[in-house]
């Protein structure tokens, strides 16, 4: 009887040790988070312990479709997450923040751009993101809404993500570029920001989802909950992002 009790106690101790080890492993193993380039600064500041891959959401979508080992996907456009969701590659996405577009010009402003309409009136070297990149699609929406699509003929370079557009303008390699307000804020000392009217703004919605093949879904879900919670939303606000729209 005494031997049997000892065995039970030993078994319980072993089980407890195993549970603790699993929990420790899931806490210590960083999640792999694929996120839109525009989220670079805020996500790194929010949780430096995770492993990130930042790029254009379209490129990240392709990588996840090709089996990249991501746990979480945060996209700058619903199109990318919803496509993966329909194919069963991510769990149901949720909207977690929104953003606005702005036109930026280098501080020296060599093309003397003071309004979005100046892009049509003046010779200008314009840099934008490619059409498949969320910010590139949003840029085209702004131009179409304002009746300014003709300025696309002045595009000298199409970039793979918003950080590349921001960088080119900040370095003076282009006269103007369309970026998110949050990216403009990050280089405020090197660029002038020209506002895009509210009536011409696209609906910029960021969605986040757990990747279906994640080996750490519980931690991925907890991380998304953190982003949706007060801590995450405060960080996003601090970096200039807007709250998710009502009803999203």
């Amino acid at each position: 009887m005494r031997n049997r009790l000892t065995l039970v106690v030993l078994a319980l101790v072993a089980l407890a040790g195993s549970v603790t080890a699993t929990a420790a492993r899931s806490q210590s193993t960083p999640l792999t988070i694929y996120a839109a380039a525009s989220l670079t600064d805020v996500f790194r500041a929010l949780d430096p312990a995770q492993r990130y891959s930042f790029a254009g959401s379209n490129a990240l979508e392709t990588q996840i479709r090709n089996g990249a080992p991501a746990d979480v996907f945060a996209s700058a456009a619903p199109l990318n997450t919803q496509r993966l969701f329909r194919q069963g590659l991510v769990d149901k996405p949720v909207t977690f923040t929104s953003n606005r577009l702005a036109l930026i010009v280098p501080r020296s402003n060599p093309a003397d751009i003071k309004s979005v309409y100046d892009l049509k009136r003046k010779p200008v070297k314009l840099v934008i993101a490619g059409a498949a990149v969320p910010v590139g699609g949003y840029t085209r929406t702004v131009l179409r809404k304002m009746g300014l699509s003709s300025v696309l003929s002045k595009v000298v370079s199409q970039e793979t993500d918003v950080r590349a557009v921001t960088s080119k303008v900040a370095l003076g390699q282009a006269d103007a570029g369309f970026v998110y307000v949050t990216d403009a804020k990050a280089v405020a000392d090197r660029v002038n920001v020209i506002r895009i009217p509210a009536w011409a703004q696209p609906r910029v919605r960021y969605e986040i989802a757990v990747v279906s093949k994640s080996s750490n879904k519980a931690a991925a879900r907890a991380w998304i909950k953190m982003v949706l919670g007060r801590r995450g939303q405060n960080a996003l606000k601090e970096y200039g992002f807007l709250p998710p729209p009502t009803g999203a």
Binding site: Y117, K145, M146, G147, A198, W199, R203, P245, T246
Partner: protein
């Protein structure tokens, strides 16, 4: 010519005309601004600064703005574009706007004048004839609303030649309200 242009005496009907991007830019601006105008009337009514026939005029103005926004949204959707929604905007009114009748009227008339200027230009320049009819109708309605508000204070609202403005000028005039 689109069906809307021929349906005299009836409400404007959206037609799938060959609208240019410039035509649609006026519709995008107009729809957003009509939401702003609707919000102005709603806030003015909430302020309790207006009563009786004046409040009735505000209610009527609010209804007109809602119908205008719908017509312009229909135009956009008919052209294969995405129509703006009221919840896309955060309207911002200066703190004192609805504290007194004078301030409210000055703000409302200012917004309507900017919209009127854009509609005048649209009525003269858009390519699709049925859309021109719509913009001419909107121009008339907004002019009537300006006269109605100005009449509250016995002010003279009649201008011999209200100024037509381009979209950029009209947009700049409303930037502080549209958020």
């Amino acid at each position: 010519m689109g069906a809307g242009a021929l349906t005299l005496g009836a409400s404007w009907v959206a037609t799938a005309g060959a609208a240019t991007e410039d035509d649609l830019a006026f519709a995008n601006f107009g729809a957003a601004t009509e939401f702003l105008v609707k919000d102005f009337y709603a806030e003015a009514l909430k302020s309790n600064v207006f009563a009786g026939t004046e409040a009735n005029a505000l209610r009527h103005g609010r209804s007109c703005a809602a119908q205008h926004a719908k017509a312009l949204s229909d135009l956009l959707v008919g052209a294969g574009d995405v129509a703006p929604l009221e919840e896309d905007f955060e309207f911002e009114w200066p703190a004192k706007t609805f504290k007194s009748k004078n301030d409210a009227l000055a703000t409302g008339i200012g917004v309507l004048r900017a919209l009127l200027g854009a509609y005048q230009t649209a009525a003269a320049t858009v390519t699709e004839p049925s859309h021109r009819v719509l913009y001419a109708s909107l121009t008339a309605s907004v002019g009537q609303q300006i006269a109605s508000l100005a009449g509250f204070e016995g002010a003279r609202a009649v201008e011999p030649f209200p100024v037509a403005t381009d979209l950029e000028t009209a947009s700049d005039a409303l930037e502080s309200y549209l958020g």
